[in-house]
């Protein structure tokens, strides 16, 4: 079913789900949403499975002409504008053929996500609908969207408009890291700089990684190591002593020493770092990392329950003193 025609594509808008699993051993990055938390929330709001394909936009969002009715949501650092009227982020609402939907940055990060009921319909390649920009496959013809592209949607799940629950872990504070695997290759001063200073995000910031600038994270010996596995969220430090956070398109192996790795619960926030922003790091324990991840999962579970509850609700349109109101009535358990 046709869903959207791209009027303008923005800077880098791609089809992404949660990425490919099991191929990093062959040198293939995960791909998928850089901020997986926001894509999951966008999917939950439109009644999709959390790993359905949506759109990820970067810095400047796309403008889309709606071709078929759909329930949509916008999460991350963007908010939707429907036919010129601003909508809040983190809610879902209906769009109809002829509507113009634009995604605008909120200034609170770098990336936004559009969830669409049913999910964006592109072929599954190697177990995922995500776009692998490096090897040019998956997603929409293996590339970022361009003006004139027409996107299709899979049949929707029959969801109702929903909103994200309150009480979300907000995206502030230092990124939490666990030291290792090569913290022993750095000086005490270098590690202290990493954990106690502010770093500025440079313009060299893409889906592969995010280069930072700040006090040197000095190596005790040479910077290069014999190539080693690189998990997502790794902070690698080349010879110039300036850290790079590796994101979802980062290569699975690399030859720079890594003093620390960002915890899973903060990967989405790392992916929202925009050029010019500042970031700092704080050491965490495995226990804290697990608690943070459980907390994030609990939030998504709550959002999913709320969206499902909306299914048992009814929508009325009321007119009071000439003004139209949409009223949602739901049965309480």
């Amino acid at each position: 079913m046709q869903a959207f025609e791209v009027i303008s594509a923005g800077i880098l808008t791609t089809v992404q789900d949660l990425g490919r699993r099991g191929y990093r051993r062959f040198g293939l990055p995960r791909s998928g949403a850089a901020d997986g938390f926001s894509l999951q929330l966008a999917n939950i709001l439109v009644g999709n499975p959390r790993d359905a394909a949506g759109l990820e936009c970067t810095a400047v969002g796309p403008t889309l002409r709606v071709l078929g009715p759909a329930l949509v949501s916008c999460t991350g650092a963007f908010a939707p504008v429907l036919n010129g009227s601003a909508w809040p982020p983190d809610v879902s609402f209906w769009v109809n053929p002829g509507d113009t939907l634009e995604l605008r940055p909120t200034g609170e990060g770098l990336r936004g996500y559009l969830g669409v009921s049913g999910g964006i319909d592109v072929p599954v390649v190697m177990g995922s609908r995500s776009t692998c920009l490096k090897a040019g496959f998956g997603g929409y013809h293996g590339r970022a969207l361009q003006a004139g592209d027409v996107l299709a949607c899979r049949p929707g799940p029959g969801a109702r408009p929903a909103r994200a629950p309150a009480g979300r872990e907000t995206g502030c504070g230092p990124l939490r890291v666990i030291l290792g695997p090569q913290d022993d290759l750095f000086t005490r001063e270098g590690l202290a700089a990493l954990l106690e200073s502010e770093y500025r995000v440079t313009s060299q910031c893409d889906r592969m990684g995010c280069r930072l600038q700040g006090p040197p994270v000095t190596h005790s010996g040479r910077a290069d190591i014999l190539s080693d596995g690189v998990p997502e969220g790794s902070i690698q430090v080349p010879g110039n002593a300036q850290p790079i956070i590796l994101l979802c398109d980062g290569q699975p192996t690399g030859g720079y020493a890594k003093p620390a790795v960002v915890i899973s619960a903060d990967l989405g926030r790392a992916a929202q770092l925009a050029p010019g922003a500042t970031v700092s790091f704080a050491q965490a324990t495995r226990e804290k990392a697990r608690a943070a991840l459980l907390c994030q999962q609990a939030y998504l579970d709550r959002a999913e329950r709320l969206a499902q509850a909306a299914l048992g609700s009814r929508l009325y349109q009321l007119r009071v003193q000439g003004r139209a109101y949409r009223v949602q009535v739901e049965e309480l358990p």
Partner: protein, 220 residues
Amino acid sequence: MVRFLQAGDAALVVEYGDAVDPELNGRVLALYHQLARGVVPGVVELVPTYRSLLVEYDPLVTGYPELVEMLRPLTGVPPAPGAGRLLEVPVRYGGPAGPDLEEVAAHCGLTPGEVIRRHSAPTYRVYMLGFSPGFPYLGGLDPSLHVPRLSQPRLRVPAGSVAIAGHQAGIYPQTTPGGWRIIGHTRLVPFNPVLDPPFLFQAGDLVRFVPVKENEDAGV
């Protein structure tokens, strides 16, 4: 001496050493093959390298201490002898297919023909895949062919380029930027996402380069 290193809350490194060595890499791959059978719950990705295995896991299913305890007894398993497949890679050397052949020959004090002979003589080992999807890091290059990388990397290395740098040899699966010296080209495709399996090489494979004549079809 095997070391376990924490790599964030969702990965650990099993480090066997710090050298490019077939025996050491064989031990890495022996552990990799055991885990690749899917015996350990919660393990989601495995990345074998020259000298270590990255084990990525779902931290809500398993954890670092449990995994270390489970993996430690498996690290002693010796590599299966002769486990790697032998793959022959046809190469068109020199000319537009291998723009750096002449310079490599000059650098090594050899004729281009001798560079071809020495490059296609050994049986290489795929130590690991990386850099770009499907790129094989090959060990076993003749020491007389060790040349430094280009001081100015190319912005565009064509897919299929057969290249060398330092003690390593490789094949570029995609057209990407790259700093290795290109001495030839193969029409074999190391990665095609619509094929099953999509990747031509896997760690532990053995590779031989077979020169093809100018007017022969290099496609096999």
